[in-house]
C-alpha cells in the first residue's frame, strides 16, 4: 500500500505525536490540557477510520444494502469522547483552583513558588 492509501493513519499518528509533544514541551497548564485533548482525539480517529467503508451505509440488513460500515467503533468512541470531556473538565477545574492558590498557571513559576516559604494568607498547610 502507498502512503496515500494510509493517509488517514498518517494524520492519526501526526496528531498523536503533536499532542503528546505539546503536553511534554509546554509549561502552561492550559496548553498542556489542549495537547492532551489533541492526543486523545487522535485515538478517536484510530478507531473510527478502519470502521468506515467507502460506499458503505449504516448497518441496515436488507436486500438492497450489501455493504455497511462497522457501527461498533462509533459507539466506543462516543464513550471515549465522554471520558475525554470529563477529563478536560476536571483538568480545567484543577487549573482554576491552581490559579487561585498560586496566582499563576505556568508550571515553572508554580514549582518555584513551592520552593520558597508559603505566605500566611495563602497558607493552607497549617497543622490542625
Amino acid at each position: 500500500m502507498t502512503i496515500a492509501g494510509h493517509f488517514s493513519y498518517w494524520i492519526t499518528i501526526f496528531l498523536a505525536i503533536a499532542g503528546l509533544y505539546i503536553v511534554i514541551a509546554r509549561g502552561n497548564l492550559i496548553k498542556k490540557l489542549v495537547g492532551l485533548g489533541i492526543f486523545q482525539t487522535s485515538v478517536y480517529l484510530l478507531y473510527i477510520v478502519p470502521g468506515k467503508l467507502i460506499g458503505g451505509t449504516a448497518p441496515i440488513i436488507a436486500e438492497q444494502y450489501g455493504l455497511y460500515s462497522n457501527p461498533l467503533p462509533h459507539v466506543l468512541i462516543l464513550t471515549a469522547i465522554v471520558v475525554g470531556v470529563a477529563t478536560l473538565a476536571l483538568g480545567l477545574a484543577l487549573v482554576v483552583r491552581i490559579r487561585e492558590a498560586y496566582g499563576s498557571i505556568e508550571e515553572d513559576e508554580i514549582l518555584d513558588l513551592d520552593k520558597t516559604p508559603v505566605f500566611p494568607n495563602t497558607a493552607t498547610s497549617k497543622p490542625a
Binding site: 486523545q40 471515549a80 477529563t87 476536571l90 491552581i98 498560586y102 513551592d114 495563602t122 493552607t124 490542625a128
Partner: protein, 493 residues
C-alpha cells in the same frame, strides 16, 4: 435469585450510591451509606471467591446479551482474589475515614468525599470484574478521575499540582492503553478478553499485535507506577488526605498490576507472540531498578508520607519482579506480595494519618520522641515497617520468601541476593523512624499531643494485626495466590 447478579451488583452498588450521596448533601448519612455499600461489597466478593475456589468461572452477561457480543463480567480465581482485596481495604478504610476526614476537610466537602470514594471503589471493582477490554478502560477512567479529585481535596495547595500532574500522566497512560486495545480490536475484531485470546492465536500479522502489547504495557505501567513511570506517585500520595492515601496506596496500583497480569497471561499468554518481545527481561531490569533506586530515594526523604510513597514504588518493583520470572512460583510470590503489600501499606498510611491528625505535615523534625505521647500509633508503624522489610513472622516475609524461591528456581541466585540487599534499604528507612520516634526527646509542642482516636487507631491496628496473621497462617493468601497463578498460566503450560 439475587446471588446470580453478584458480579455486577458489587460494581453497581457504589456507582449508584455516589450520586445518592451528593443528593443527601450531609456528611453523616453519606458516610453511613458508604459503610453499607463497602461492607456489602466485601460480603459479595467473599462469596464470589468461595464460588470460584474450585476453579470454575462465573460468566455474567450484562443485559442478557450473550458474550462476546455483549459485555461480559467474568470472575475467575485471579480477579476474585483482587476483588476481595479491594473491597476489604475499602471496608476498613471507610470506617477509619470518618474521623480522619472530619479533621482534614471542611464540613461542606464531607459528602463529596464519600461520593468520590464510592465512585473510585466502583471503578476499581469494575476494572477487576469486567471481561471486556473497552469496559475496562471506562472503569479505569472512572476510578482515575475520582482519584484525581480525591487527591485535590488535600489541605496543602501542592495537592492541586500533584493532582494535575497525576491527571496528565494518568490520562496519557489510559490513552496508551486504549490505543493498544484499538490495535487489538483491529486485528481480532473483538473486545471480549476470552474471545480475543482465542482469536489472537490465529493472527498471523504479528507487528500490530506487538505494537498493541507495547502500548498496553507502557499505559498500564504508568498507572501502576513502575519505575521510571512513577513520577506522579510520591506527590499524589504525600499531599492527598490521609484516608485517600491509605485507600489508593493499597488498591489503585494493585488493580493495575492485575490488568497487566490479565493482558500478559490471559490474553497474550495463549499465543507465542508474547515471547517475541523480551518482556520478562525488561520487567526484571525495571523491577530491580525500582527496588534499589526508589528505596534509596525513600531513605533521604524528610517527609514521612513521601518516604512511604517511595517505598511503595520499591515494593511495586517486587510485585513486577514476581511477574518477570514467568513461573508459577514467581507469579505466586508476585500475587501474594500484591495482597500483603496492600495490607501493610494501607495500615502504614492509616497510622501516618493518625500522626497527621495531630501534627499536620509529618516530618522527621517534628516527630522527635513522639512514641512517648502516641505509643500505639508509633508501635504500629514499627510493626508495619517490619512487614515492609520482610522480617520472619510477618506477611512481608512470606511474599519475599516466594520471590527468593522463584529466583533460585530459575537459577538466578543473584536476584535472590538482590531481594535481600534491597530489604536492607527498607531497614534503613524504617530505622530512621524508630530513631526519631523513640530515641529523641519530645519538644514542648510534641509533649502535649494526645493519642489518636480509637475509631482511627483500631482499624489501622487491625490491619497491622492482619499483616502478622497472614505471616503465620498463609492458607488464604498463598493458596489463593498459587491457585490464581495456576489459572493464569493454564493457557501456556
Amino acid at each position: 435469585m439475587i446471588a446470580q447478579h453478584f458480579p455486577i451488583l458489587q460494581v453497581v452498588l457504589p456507582l449508584m450510591a455516589a450520586p445518592l450521596m451528593v443528593l443527601l448533601r450531609r456528611g453523616a448519612p453519606a458516610w453511613l451509606l458508604a459503610v453499607i455499600v463497602s461492607w456489602t461489597g466485601l460480603f459479595i466478593s467473599l462469596s464470589l471467591l468461595a464460588q470460584v475456589a474450585d476453579g470454575s468461572v462465573i460468566s455474567y452477561a450484562i443485559g442478557s446479551w450473550p458474550p462476546p457480543w455483549g459485555i461480559e463480567y467474568r470472575i475467575d480465581r485471579v480477579n476474585a482474589f483482587v476483588l476481595v482485596l479491594v473491597s476489604l481495604i475499602a471496608a476498613v478504610v471507610v470506617i477509619y475515614s470518618r474521623a480522619s476526614v472530619a479533621a482534614e476537610l471542611p464540613a461542606h466537602q464531607h459528602y463529596l468525599f464519600y461520593s468520590l470514594f464510592a465512585l473510585c471503589l466502583a471503578g476499581l471493582l469494575g476494572i477487576a470484574a469486567t471481561g471486556d477490554a473497552f469496559n475496562l478502560f471506562v472503569f479505569l477512567e472512572i476510578s482515575s478521575l475520582s482519584s484525581y479529585a480525591l487527591i485535590a481535596l488535600g489541605r496543602d495547595r501542592r495537592a492541586l499540582m500533584a493532582s494535575y500532574q497525576y491527571l496528565i500522566m494518568g490520562t496519557i497512560g489510559a490513552t496508551f492503553y486504549i490505543i493498544g486495545v484499538g490495535l487489538l480490536y483491529l486485528m481480532t475484531g473483538t473486545l471480549n478478553m476470552a474471545d480475543m485470546a482465542q482469536r489472537l492465536a490465529g493472527v498471523t500479522e504479528v507487528r500490530a499485535v506487538l505494537a498493541a502489547l507495547a502500548f498496553i504495557t507502557v499505559g498500564i505501567c504508568l498507572k501502576l507506577a513502575l519505575f521510571p513511570l512513577h513520577l506522579w506517585l510520591p506527590n499524589a500520595y504525600a499531599y492527598a488526605p490521609s484516608a485517600v492515601t491509605a485507600f489508593l496506596a493499597a488498591t489503585a496500583t494493585k488493580v493495575s498490576v492485575y490488568v497487566l497480569l490479565r493482558f500478559y497471561y490471559s490474553i497474550y499468554g495463549e499465543s507465542a507472540i508474547f515471547y517475541a518481545l523480551p518482556m520478562g527481561q525488561i520487567l526484571l531490569l525495571l523491577s530491580l531498578a525500582a527496588m534499589f533506586i526508589a528505596s534509596a530515594i525513600a531513605i533521604i526523604q524528610s517527609d514521612l508520607k513521601r518516604l512511604f510513597a517511595y517505598s511503595s514504588v520499591a515494593q511495586i518493583g517486587y510485585i513486577t519482579l514476581g511477574i518477570s520470572f514467568d513461573s508459577v512460583t514467581g507469579l505466586t510470590g508476585g500475587i501474594v506480595h500484591l495482597f500483603n503489600h496492600a495490607l501493610t501499606k494501607g495500615a502504614l498510611f492509616m497510622l501516618l494519618g493518625c500522626f497527621a491528625l495531630r501534627l499536620g505535615r509529618i516530618r522527621f523534625d517534628n516527630i522527635g520522641g513522639i512514641a512517648r505521647v502516641m505509643p500505639f500509633t508509633s508501635f504500629g508503624i514499627v510493626l508495619g515497617g517490619l512487614s515492609l522489610i520482610g522480617a520472619p513472622g510477618t506477611a512481608g516475609f512470606i511474599s519475599k520468601w516466594y520471590l527468593v524461591l522463584a529466583a533460585l528456581e530459575s537459577g538466578q541466585w543473584w536476584i535472590a541476593l538482590a531481594i535481600m540487599l534491597s530489604s536492607l534499604l527498607a531497614v534503613v528507612y524504617v530505622w530512621r523512624f524508630v530513631e526519631a520516634a523513640y530515641f529523641r526527646e519530645p519538644d514542648a509542642k510534641t509533649a502535649q499531643l494526645k493519642e489518636a482516636p480509637l475509631e482511627m487507631l483500631v482499624p489501622a491496628l487491625l490491619m497491622i494485626a492482619a499483616c502478622f496473621y497472614f505471616g503465620l497462617d498463609t492458607t488464604l493468601t498463598v493458596d489463593g495466590a498459587a491457585r490464581a497463578a495456576q489459572t493464569l498460566l493454564q493457557g501456556i503450560r
